[in-house]
């Protein structure tokens, strides 16, 4: 009975979506994409001269966006594949959203390469004249394989839900025809379930190394060249960590939007946001470690070519991008750190934790901001990001914001996304503006309206694809959520049948805890 209620509610979701707000946003995104297509056609006609790219700085917004979108696409791999293989039960309601983000962001990432090539027909040269030694060929192979595999991995768990939605339909319209075609004669028999589980498991095992290889190869496109601050062994793992970090942030934001707009508080619970926030904090730590390694080793080495790039990032024309990225990440750390837990663990003499206890740390942060600004007082954009940083700290003090797990997770995730996009800028552009051969002279890069339009169109395309998907298919994996609900009595029975367990465990906290975890997650 409980299962039928859940199935009915979740299966009706796509048809319920479509209020005034939905269609307004849909039209706005469509308009932005239209503007992006016009800008691209303008670029095709007049060539790459309409962009800010030059002979010296040959990569800009397009490649930054490509790396960024590939990074976002790692959300599905981590949440869905890794958590599926490790048997993390709480993953069930969030896997579909993660898989959809993966498939759509990697589709858009591919279009960024087309934009960067100037002439799209040159893509054929990669196939007919591809060189085995070239990381660009490895990139083509791994990204195209990942795009195809992600689409299959999104589709497989959809099959039972599509069949369910087909059966729930009362009339045979286009929607019924679509579901009937995609449900692949699914009847939910044991044989079909076993086949589906096999296929999903095989995909989950295969897609993890594939995803790692994708972002490693993207990093190799930079690291295999002998350019300062690119030619580094840390680039592969650093890119993978950054990718998962930004993918988690994107997932948290989309989950919050889905939860609020579809009123799914009963399915996407606070505990999901809490677990994902904890993962985000862990990946912040890994990213921070990678950043320290990258910059400290370069700075200590002091090679002249590398110091020129480092200086351009920290003190010269790319200062505001670099330091705003650092500010964003520092803000993420302050928001995500569970200060109550820290105080409790350190047994500090504080009865209840107030946000004001973090005030000394905030003052330290402010001192850091003003010291940084004093290096380049003439850079107005750095002042803007510094002031934004101060506002952020004041926002953290607002009690109502601190009490909501969802708002804290979303605030931190927005900062991560902005910070990671700026990090892509800090990796791609500064190195190109300081060529190895100094007589060529320093390059400069200012994106034009064409690049900005195409960038906005890319972000809008991810949003639009997700909206179309939500109108057609359920954003929650219905059969997986129902499967978890069915597990509860079985686990209780198993625990109570364990004759070897001590009595305190059989009837005590273990069962209650497992029940609580199950019902929460």
């Amino acid at each position: 009975m409980q299962r039928q209620v859940i199935e009915g509610q979740l299966a009706a979701m796509p048809e319920e979506i479509g209020g005034k707000g939905f269609w307004t946003i849909f039209c706005i995104l469509l308009f932005i994409i239209g503007a992006g297509i016009c800008a691209y056609l303008y670029q095709v006609v007049y060539g790459l001269t309409v962009t800010g790219l030059s002979h010296t700085v040959f990569w800009g917004f397009y490649i930054m966006n490509f790396v960024f979108f590939i990074g976002i696409s790692h959300a599905g791999t981590l949440i869905s594949a890794i958590l599926r293989l490790t048997g993390a039960e709480w993953r069930r309601p969030v896997t579909r959203v993660a898989e959809a983000i993966t498939a759509f962001s990697i589709m858009v990432a591919g279009t960024m390469i087309l934009a960067d090539m100037g002439r799209p027909d040159r893509l054929l040269n990669m196939i007919s004249h591809g060189r085995v030694q070239s990381p660009l060929l490895w990139d083509l192979l791994s990204v195209s394989s990942y795009l195809f595999s992600s689409s299959v991995y999104l589709f497989l768990p959809l099959i039972p839900d599509i069949a369910l939605m087909r059966d729930k339909l009362t009339s045979k319209g286009w929607r019924w025809a679509l579901y009937n075609l995609l449900s692949l004669n699914w009847k939910g028999t044991d044989v079909q379930r076993a086949r589906l589980e096999k296929a999903i498991s095989a995909m989950a095992i295969m897609i993890i190394p594939l995803a790692v290889s994708v972002h490693t190869v993207v990093a190799y496109v930079f690291a295999m060249t002998l350019r300062p601050m690119w030619h580094s062994t840390i680039m592969g793992p650093y890119f993978v960590i950054g990718a998962i970090f930004s993918g988690l942030a994107a997932l948290l934001i989309v989950m919050a939007i889905v939860q609020k707009s579809l009123r799914l508080e009963g399915v996407l619970k606070e505990i999901h946001f809490q677990y994902l926030s904890n993962l985000l904090l862990v990946f912040f730590g890994a990213w921070f470690y990678g950043t320290i390694c990258e910059y400290l080793v370069t700075g200590y080495g002091g090679a002249s070519a590398e110091m020129r790039v480092l200086s351009s990032k920290m003190l010269e024309e790319h200062t505001w991008m670099f330091w705003t990225m650092i500010f964003c990440m520092a803000g993420t750390f302050f928001i995500l750190t569970p200060w109550d837990w820290v105080v409790k663990r350190l047994r500090l003499p504080v009865a209840t934790v107030s946000p004001w206890h973090a005030f000394p740390l905030m003052v330290l942060g402010w001192v850091g901001v003003f010291m940084t600004i004093s290096f380049t007082p003439g850079n107005p954009l750095l002042w803007v990001s510094g002031v934004a940083y101060l506002i952020l700290f004041f926002l953290i003090l607002v009690p109502s914001l601190r009490q909501s797990t969802v708002s804290m997770a979303v605030s931190a995730s927005l900062l991560v996304l902005v910070g990671m996009w700026l990090e892509r800028y800090s990796i791609v552009v500064p190195t190109l503006t300081r060529p190895m051969l100094e007589y060529i002279g320093d390059g400069s890069y200012t994106p034009t309206w064409v690049e900005i339009c195409i960038t906005f169109a890319g972000f809008s395309a991810v949003g639009l694809l997700f909206m179309i998907f939500s109108k057609l298919f359920p954003l929650i994996s219905i059969w997986e959520v129902c499967e978890a609900e069915e597990d509860i009595p079985a686990i209780v029975a198993k625990l109570t049948d364990e004759a070897t367990l001590p009595a305190s465990l059989q009837h005590g906290s273990l069962i209650n805890e497992s029940l609580e975890v199950k019902s929460n997650g």
């Binding site: 192979l141 995609l182 095989a202």
Partner: protein
């Protein structure tokens, strides 16, 4: 309805699998004939081997998934 149900996914996967394997063969032939490769030596062979394992591993798994999807369609 059952008779009309068409398995549209596994043929797409298998076609893509065939395309990738063909591409690998194309790269191998180019590598051995030295067409367009300046260094048809150790590095090329290593990379070709790596790409071969990659393509066969990923697309072999996808072919296995295509087989499972085909069986799901047949319900057996």
């Amino acid at each position: 309805m059952d008779k009309k149900s068409v398995n549209i996914v596994s043929p797409i996967i298998l076609l893509a699998f065939g395309a990738m394997i063909s591409f690998l063969i194309h790269l191998t032939i180019r590598g051995h004939l030295g067409l367009g490769i300046n260094d048809p030596g150790f590095l090329s062979n290593i990379m070709l081997g790596f790409l071969g394992v990659f393509i066969l591993g990923v697309w072999g798994t996808l072919a296995y998934v295509a087989f499972q999807i085909h069986k799901i369609c047949q319900n057996k």
